[in-house]
Amino acid sequence: MTSFIDFWGSGNGHLRRMIPSARIICGVVIFASCLVLPVYKPLGFYIICGTTITWAFLCGIPWKNITGLLLYAFLLFLPLFLLTPWIERHPSSGYNWYDATKVPMEIGIRGTACIFICASTIAILDLSEFNTGLSLLPIPLTITSLVIQIVHQTAMLANESRRISSALRIRGVPSGYIARLRFLSALPTIWLLRIMNRAERIAAAMELRGFEITARTSNEPISVLDIFVVAAAILLLGTSITIRWLNVL
């Protein structure tokens, strides 16, 4: 399956022509819309599905990533459905299966849509563009800096984990159930210690290099496409709020 770092900048859709900040804004606004839209209303359901598919298409997310994400979403939400028979239901629901699966279904649909929107958004941003885009948004620079480091260090840790797993594959895992179990249970400790040591070294490097926030300027002009897509995303959010709380439509 594709790793965390491979998702970034993997899309080749038309929206890559937008400036990075506009891409981030659109991603966040569309994500918020999907959180707000009521899945149990037919219109809400159609809008969520339509928006997710359109956004993924415009971002040009690769097919292999789509397959991976569908599998991931399936594995993530399957337990909710498996638990359905044990969910205590109100007698008025009549104990029918449709009502019983309503809540897991809602979580599943909304969750899958959110996963796809996140993955599509990061598909049109490589890490450098994300860094640039985020630092140009009007949010506190400490938060920007923190988010950038979280993303960057997560990618580094993903690489480190990959190296640990390669080493394990090559060096082999002990034979015998007990030995294997003991080994596997010790693994998080080994990993955690490595991560803690690494965090300490990175903190020293950040201190030494003077990692403080630098205000950034950009000469990238805002295009008509940027304005149009951001406006469409905001309109979608407005529509979602209207459907959800004002009970219009």
């Binding site: 890490l127 020293a204 490097a205």
Partner: protein, 225 residues
């Protein structure tokens, strides 16, 4: 400037209750002087470098470019030093190569676009200009070493503290790096196990054993022995 780096009776340990890793070090490095710091694993080479930038608590006096190191002068001193860590990917803090190298200049107040332009010659010198837009996660260890080194050299500091700069480089890369370092005017203290690299790059050799300077000489043939 009389001296690029001075240690006067410096002892350092990572925690106060631990025994000192380096003991009673006195050393003076002149501006432009290139010094190799040799010694076995655990002899205190990295600790000696860390103490010069205030990353390890120490007793005694350390001065960089005639400025005594203290909490108040720490930032000013660090701005005068280009530092290369032993594990280069620890010091790469940005998601693209050029962003990371340009950061050295950005935090000195240079605008982003200008900083990106200014670091290009250093990147060309180190042969990493084609990696500018790459993510550091996709680089080999040797390429990361060059990126980290470019970050250290970008601001043209008067003092370079380099921890195993040749460790991950191929023979050609080592030769190129030695030539590059020899062409710089900065003073440098290079912790290394690579005697051949040290001989080509440095004019003075200091041997550290169990945290104490045991030899300080200028004869490259003696270094080889």
């Amino acid at each position: 400037m009389k001296s690029a780096l001075t240690y006067c009776n410096v002892s350092a340990s990572y925690r106060t209750e631990d025994p000192a890793v380096i003991k009673g070090i006195s050393l003076d490095i002149a501006p432009g002087e290139r010094v190799a710091l040799l010694g076995l694993n655990g002899s205190g080479k990295t600790t000696l470098l860390y103490s010069a930038v205030g990353l390890v608590p120490f007793d005694g006096v350390i001065s960089v470019c005639d400025i005594p190191l203290s909490r108040a002068t720490e930032r000013q001193i660090r701005d005068n030093i280009g530092f290369l860590f032993g594990i280069p990917d620890d010091q790469i803090l940005f998601p693209s190569v050029i962003d990371d190298i340009a950061f050295t200049l950005e935090r000195r107040g240079i605008a982003r676009d200008e900083a990106r332009q200014k670091v290009l010659p250093v990147m060309e010198m180190l042969g990493i200009e084609k990696l500018a837009s790459h993510s550091p996660h996709c680089l080999s260890h040797g390429q990361m070493q060059r990126v980290a080194l470019a970050g250290a050299l970008a601001a043209n500091p008067p003092l370079l503290l380099l921890d195993e700069p040749s460790a991950a480089l191929d023979p050609v890369g080592k030769e190129e790096l030695a030539g590059l370092l020899a062409s710089l005017n900065a003073a440098m203290l290079i912790a290394t196990h690579d005697i051949e690299f040290a001989r080509v790059t440095c004019k003075r050799f200091i041997v550290l054993a169990n945290g104490v300077i045991t030899e300080d000489f200028a004869d490259p043939d003696r270094a080889a022995r």
